[in-house]
């Protein structure tokens, strides 16, 4: 069991997402930075979608009551395992009774704490990713516990990975969205000439970008939206839908992020700058 002493700023459990339920209005969810989750799972020789903790801004303080192996991946997270500093993307053996104390996330927004075999709470609609009301929890609570299968016997084939992080990159690759052609030439030019900043309105569902641009008044009939869909509101606000984003919407979908850039967006925090670039 993993005992949560302090949950951190906003820590959730995520795998690669919940598929096949969008027709019922259930978002995909899953790790915001899927590349980082996959790296941690690869080092632990887990299934690519084994569930790990997704840490936002500040990590938790936890105790491992049974033995396992640990990898921390994603944005650089300050952490100490039994008093020793933890390196990113490196496999650590974790004896029973170990204590992990995390600090802030640096250079990026989200880090992943993965254990051998993944965390094993109940699967709900094909996934363990937190998303109420599908799961009971929205984020990790103090004094709660998360199950995993104990493991003492594992010799990693690769102990460490030097993953160059590209979280400082500003360029976000996009495809034209279904309503791209509703934009006039000056709106189209503006989209690719402007440096946008992530607004305060920013969570796992969506982030708003500033500055605002000329809006689109055309009202459209509700249609599907995807993680990475960029909507333009009549008031000229740009909204990027993220992994927990709603499955349908009524605003024009002017751009669609490339899947790799969606991972990058998951590492951007309020105030960070981005630029759109054709994929």
């Amino acid at each position: 069991m993993l005992k949560i002493i302090q949950p951190g700023f906003y820590t959730t459990l995520q795998d690669l997402g919940r598929y096949h339920y969008r027709q019922y209005g259930v978002p995909v969810s899953g790790a915001m930075d899927q590349g980082a989750l996959r790296r941690a799972n690869a080092l632990l020789e887990n299934e690519p979608g084994a569930a790990a903790l997704e840490v936002t801004m500040k990590g938790p303080e936890v105790e491992f009551t049974t033995p396992t192996f640990l990898v921390v991946s994603g944005a650089h997270l300050e952490a100490e395992l039994n008093g020793e500093p933890v390196e990113m993307n490196r496999v650590y053996q974790v004896p029973a009774g170990s204590h992990l104390k995390c600090g802030p996330v640096l250079r990026g927004l989200r880090a992943y704490l993965a254990v051998k075999g993944g965390f094993l709470p109940e699967v709900r609609l094909g996934s363990r990713s937190y998303f109420p009301p599908v799961t009971r929890h929205k984020f990790l609570a103090r004094d709660s516990e998360l199950p995993y299968a104990p493991c003492e016997d594992f010799t990693p084939r690769l102990l460490k990975l030097n993953a160059a992080d590209s979280y400082g990159q500003k360029e976000v690759r996009v495809w034209p969205g279904p309503e791209f052609d509703l934009l006039n030439p000056s709106q189209k030019a503006c989209l690719f000439e402007t440096e946008y900043h992530l607004a305060k309105e920013h969570d796992r569902m969506a982030c708003q970008l500033g500055p605002a641009m000329e809006g689109i008044g055309t009202s459209m009939i509700t249609s599907a939206t995807l993680p990475g869909t960029v909507q333009l509101t009549p008031a000229g606000k740009l909204l990027v839908l993220l992994r927990d984003g709603q499955t349908t919407g009524g605003y024009p979908r002017i751009l669609q992020l490339d899947p790799d850039s969606l991972d990058l967006m998951g590492q951007k925090k309020s105030g960070d700058a981005i630029r759109f670039l054709w994929a």
């Binding site: 027709q23 709900r124 279904p178 509700t222 599907a224 869909t229």
Partner: protein, 245 residues
């Protein structure tokens, strides 16, 4: 069938959007749903594709290893040609209890005034006809219902509520619907349905599907409480009313 009535638009690297002529039409919806089932059963297995049908569009999302959107785009017109059409509609009509009494209906009085009618007449108009489910989205289990009569059409509230309770029945913008979970919302609230529309422990999690119909039945606060308990312990009997295909 004949020539494909939809436009195919790329939707990023992993999805295609099929758009039938814009409009809220039952005939179009049935073709969207029929073609979706045909594709799923014949060409695009559910293990590799996910579908979002809503109003006049069908979104096909690929998560197979091979990103074969180009091949699918090329083949869709021929597949539509081979598709036998939507066939007979399996129109289930679900009867859902709604309590229109205060405190379940904070906006009923105001809505009746705006629509220049009385509260009992407003309830009669709201329960008089079945509504077609044009899709599920926005929140898990939120039904987009069409077929709201002209007499019940009014704009959204000027000030959205930060917290609309689960089960609230709303009316706005030519639409009516039930908030499946507590959420913010801008619709006028005219009642509350005690029966949960989304159950993550059931398979599928929504017993109502796009293409079905929903009809509201006015119930007393006492019946509301009874149905709420039945819903919580999972024994509420969703009576299917007569379909109207």
């Amino acid at each position: 069938m004949s020539e494909a009535p939809f436009h195919i638009k790329p939707f990023g690297r992993e999805a295609l959007l099929l758009e039938w002529p814009a409009g809220v039409s039952e005939e179009t919806l049935m073709d969207v749903l029929g073609f979706m089932r045909y594709l799923r059963d014949n060409h695009l297995p559910e293990s590799e594709w996910e579908f979002i049908p809503v109003y006049h569009s069908l979104t096909l999302i690929s998560y197979g290893k091979e990103k074969d959107l180009e091949r699918v785009t090329r083949n869709l017109p021929a597949w539509y040609h081979d598709y036998p059409g939507p066939g007979t509609l399996s129109a289930r009509c679900w009867e859902l209890p709604v309590c229109y009494d205060p405190p379940f209906a904070p906006d009923l009085e105001e809505v009746a005034r705006i629509l220049n009618t009385t509260e009992p007449d407003l309830v009669r108009s709201h329960t008089a006809q079945p509504y077609r489910v044009f899709g599920i989205g926005f929140l898990p289990g939120f039904l987009y219902l069409g077929g709201v009569p002209e007499t019940l059409r009014l704009p959204r509230r000027d000030h959205p509520r930060l917290r609309v309770p689960a089960g609230a029945v709303g009316l706005a913008d030519r639409q009516t619907g039930i908030y499946p979970q507590e959420s913010p919302g801008g619709w006028h609230l005219i009642g509350n349905c005690p029966v949960p529309l989304f159950n993550p422990e059931a398979q599928p999690p929504c017993f109502i599907s796009p293409g079905d119909q929903v009809r509201f039945r006015a119930v007393s606060p006492a019946e509301y409480e009874l149905h709420k308990i039945e819903g919580e312990i999972g024994i509420y009997n969703f009576r299917e009313g007569e379909g109207n295909a």
